[in-house]
């Protein structure tokens, strides 16, 4: 690992809400919350005006309305967000090829090697900020630091429209009094466990005997120790080098809890088609099919079955999902359903020898062609006619390209 790296973390401010405010001037300067299209959705992002009232991501619309009666709800338009995000990532890539897309509104850039071309890191950050503002009217917060951990921390320190630098010589000073929960990767549970050792700040974490941490947390213990010291040598991994995707799946929270088999089947067919279509697009097939069910009390469980031959055929995925469903005894109505294929293998497409099978394969690819041009579910199964289809909230695993590029709708 190269010494003295310079990493930028760019975090778009209230991304979905800002995009909406830019595309509709009537929303500018007003409290706006972006929600999913499903009936029982949550707030995915809200504008800074809404945050001033105490509205937060993850609240349901009722809670949010309590906090801010004049809150304007906007149903998210994922296509708009993923389009904008791709353009912004394109701007970043003009400065360095080492861009790691962390989520739809966050990215890490390793600019160590391009300073001779573009000047100082602050200069690069300023240029990127300016271009994003000029082109989209959006602001972002940038953190500049020697590694990803600290860069993310730095971008968080000033919002919105911030630019924060943690130079190597100031790392120890910054970490000394920093509460551990502000580090990316330390959640409520780890925080509690560390508190039991009397560790509340990163300074305390860095000084704590690493052997005790190792005994308690295993390999993570050592990593925690380094996190406390502000040391992180994880590289910035551009998409094409990222680890291979291990599953293709979709899930959806239903508009209303379902207990009718026929209604559940319709949702499974829709999810299977989404999974099959994405798998076919990236030429992967799965040997294991998994069905996930969530009850209204949030009990969630998954059951899977192994196939003798891998598939990416929507119909076969659906049949397997139904087979799993039929082996379950549902104790309650169903709140969420998910279908996933795993145990993936990549393969170019072998055509079937028998004509009836070949027709099925050719029909699927003809459907995919039409749907690629005219949008998901333009051509679909008869049983899905008249139903609203598609993922309603974009997944945190979204990436601008590759299998994870869920077609937003």
């Amino acid at each position: 690992m190269a010494e003295n790296r310079i990493i930028l973390h760019i975090d778009m401010n209230a991304f979905f809400a800002s995009v909406e405010q830019q595309s509709n001037p009537a929303l500018q300067g007003k409290p706006v919350a972006v929600i999913g299209a499903a009936k029982r959705t949550i707030i995915t992002t809200c504008s800074y005006e809404a945050r001033a009232f105490g509205v937060r991501t993850g609240m349901n619309s009722w809670e949010a309305r309590q906090k801010c009666p004049e809150l304007i709800f906007v149903v998210g338009n994922n296509k708009k967000y993923s389009y904008t995000s791709k353009q912004i990532i394109g701007i970043m890539r003009e400065y360095t090829p080492l861009v790691e897309v962390f989520s739809i509104d966050e990215a890490f850039l390793d600019v160590t090697g391009c300073l001779s071309l573009f000047g100082s890191p602050e200069g690069i950050a300023g240029m990127i900020k300016e271009r994003i503002r000029e082109r989209f009217g959006l602001t972002c917060s940038v953190g500049i630091a020697p590694n990803k951990l600290l860069a993310k921390l730095a971008s968080d320190m000033q919002k919105p429209d911030g630019l924060t630098v943690i130079p190597p010589e100031r790392v120890a000073q910054v970490m000394e009094r920093l509460p551990i929960q502000q580090l990316c990767g330390i959640g409520a549970k780890t925080q509690q466990q560390l508190a039991a050792f009397g560790i509340r700040t990163c300074g305390e974490l860095g000084r704590f005997p690493v052997e005790i941490l190792k005994k308690k947390f295993g390999v993570t213990g050592e990593r925690l120790h380094y996190m406390g010291l502000g040391v992180d040598d994880a590289p910035v991994v551009p998409e094409e080098e990222a680890e291979e995707v291990k599953s293709v799946g979709h899930s959806t929270t239903l508009d209303a809890d379902l207990c009718q088999r026929s209604e559940i089947l319709a949702v499974l067919l829709q999810l299977s088609e989404m999974v099959g279509r994405r798998a076919r697009k990236y030429r992967v097939t799965g040997k294991t099919v998994t069905l996930t069910v969530r009850y209204p009390d949030f009990t969630t469980f998954s059951r899977q079955l192994s196939r003798s031959v891998p598939t990416n055929n929507s119909d076969e995925i659906y049949r397997d999902a139904v087979q799993i469903l039929d082996q379950l005894e549902l104790a309650q109505a169903v709140r969420l359903l998910g279908v996933r294929i795993t145990n993936l293998s990549h393969q170019a497409e072998q055509l079937p020898l028998f004509e009836s099978e070949r027709k099925k394969a050719l029909v699927a690819s003809a459907m995919d062609h039409v749907n690629n041009r005219f949008g998901d579910f333009s051509v679909t199964f008869g049983t899905l006619l008249g139903k609203e289809c598609g993922a309603k909230v974009i997944s945190p695993a979204w990436r601008p390209e590759g299998v994870r590029n869920v077609d937003a709708d």
Binding site: R307, V309, A348, L353, F354, E355, R358
Partner: protein, 372 residues
């Protein structure tokens, strides 16, 4: 029950049934072998309810009777015994004692009453085949058997006999839905009703049959009863339940309008494919075949490694044609052909290709290409 038997015979007898006994342990009795002694003979039976095998061996019977014991454990025990005579004795509550030299094992068995019924075989309507005919035909088709359990009607070899211009012909067909192999040979004797209609032998049964016919030259007897095929050779009887399903009409799969005929040397083609497939990873399993007049170019490319390409002279007159194939499918076919010259019959890049010997009608394979 009590008997003495030579270690050598007992070990071989137990080895033969290892492939038959149920390994998934869904019904414990099916992991066991049934041992019966009467009239100075030991009968060993194993079955998984789909394929069953019963063989008889000479033994010295002290006390007649029967018992079942774990086929795998008994084989492991006998295999490691010294090369002396083995004494096998049943005790109360289905316990079994096995002694050989100074070694003694006491293992627990299960009552023979729970063991599935093995049908009595009548020998009237058996057909007789030369071992090497069946061995050859199974070798030329079995690699194409389908392993997808949901396509149960393809999980075996379809066997059919018919009269072709006054001579009786036996045909075997296997397919996994991507490729198909057909082997045929002239046979002697009459055609039974079952064979003239066509039957599907299960994959597991085919592999048992393959072992039997490959053991030695000679003859094997084949008959049918109660939806099962019965195979008899020497002291062994195998009964396998035929697959209860319709084999697809394979004749429709064999193209009739493939008029672009390429003749190519088998060895050169096979070795080239083996070389080219080194660079085809899981993601890009295919090799590309570009057929030009008098020349075929075989190539593969792999974005993670690089690319490879090879030319072979062929005899072909006609327009150029390109297609991509799973290299393994081509290699499987070439590996079972003896002839020096192979004929490829093509139509276009998305139609199945026929592969056969340039001079011979006893074997033919059809392979579906991959999408370009």
């Amino acid at each position: 029950m009590e008997f003495r038997i030579s270690k050598e015979i007992f070990m071989k007898a137990l080895q033969r049934i290892q492939g038959i006994v149920e390994k998934r342990n869904t019904m414990p009795i099916l992991s066991n072998a049934l041992l019966e002694v009467q009239n100075d003979q030991l009968f060993i039976t194993a079955t998984d309810l789909e394929v069953g095998m019963k063989s008889s061996y000479p033994t010295t019977v002290i006390r007649e009777g029967k018992i079942t014991v774990s086929a795998k454990k008994l084989y492991e025990i006998v295999k490691e015994m010294p090369d002396e005579e083995i004494l096998f004795t049943t005790k109360d509550n289905d316990w079994v004692e096995i002694t050989c030299g100074k070694a003694r094992f006491n293992i627990v068995g299960l009552s023979s009453e729970e063991f599935p019924y093995f049908p009595k075989v009548k020998e009237e309507s058996f057909l007789v085949f030369k071992n090497e005919i069946l061995a050859d035909m199974i070798e030329k088709t079995s690699y194409a058997i389908c392993y997808d359990e949901t396509k149960y009607n393809l999980n075996g070899i379809f066997i059919k006999a018919f009269d072709e211009n006054g001579t009786n012909v036996l045909k075997m067909v296997a397919t996994d839905g991507h490729r198909l192999s057909v082997a045929q040979k002239e046979i002697n004797g009459n055609i039974t009703a079952e064979l003239s209609k066509g039957v599907i032998f299960p994959r597991k049964g085919i592999f048992e049959l393959k072992k039997m016919v490959e053991e030695e030259d000679g003859e094997i007897m084949l008959g049918f009863m109660d939806n099962s095929a019965v195979i008899k050779k020497g002291n062994t009887v195998v009964v396998m339940r035929l697959i209860d399903g319709e084999f697809p009409d394979y004749t429709k799969v064999i193209p009739v309008a493939n008029d672009r005929i390429v003749q190519i040397n088998r060895d050169k083609f096979l070795h080239s494919l083996k070389r080219m497939s080194i660079l085809s990873s899981e993601k890009f399993k295919g090799v590309k075949i570009d057929v030009n007049p008098d020349l075929v170019i075989i190539s593969s490319s792999n974005p993670e490694l690089g690319e490879a390409r090879e030319e072979i002279e062929i005899s072909y007159e006609g327009n150029g044609i390109s297609a991509r194939f799973n290299a393994k499918y081509l290699i499987d076919v070439l590996s079972v052909m003896e002839q020096r010259e192979v004929e490829l019959k093509l139509k276009d890049e998305l139609s199945p290709v026929i592969m056969k010997a340039a001079d011979g009608e006893e074997f033919l394979a059809v392979i579906m290409p991959m999408r370009l």
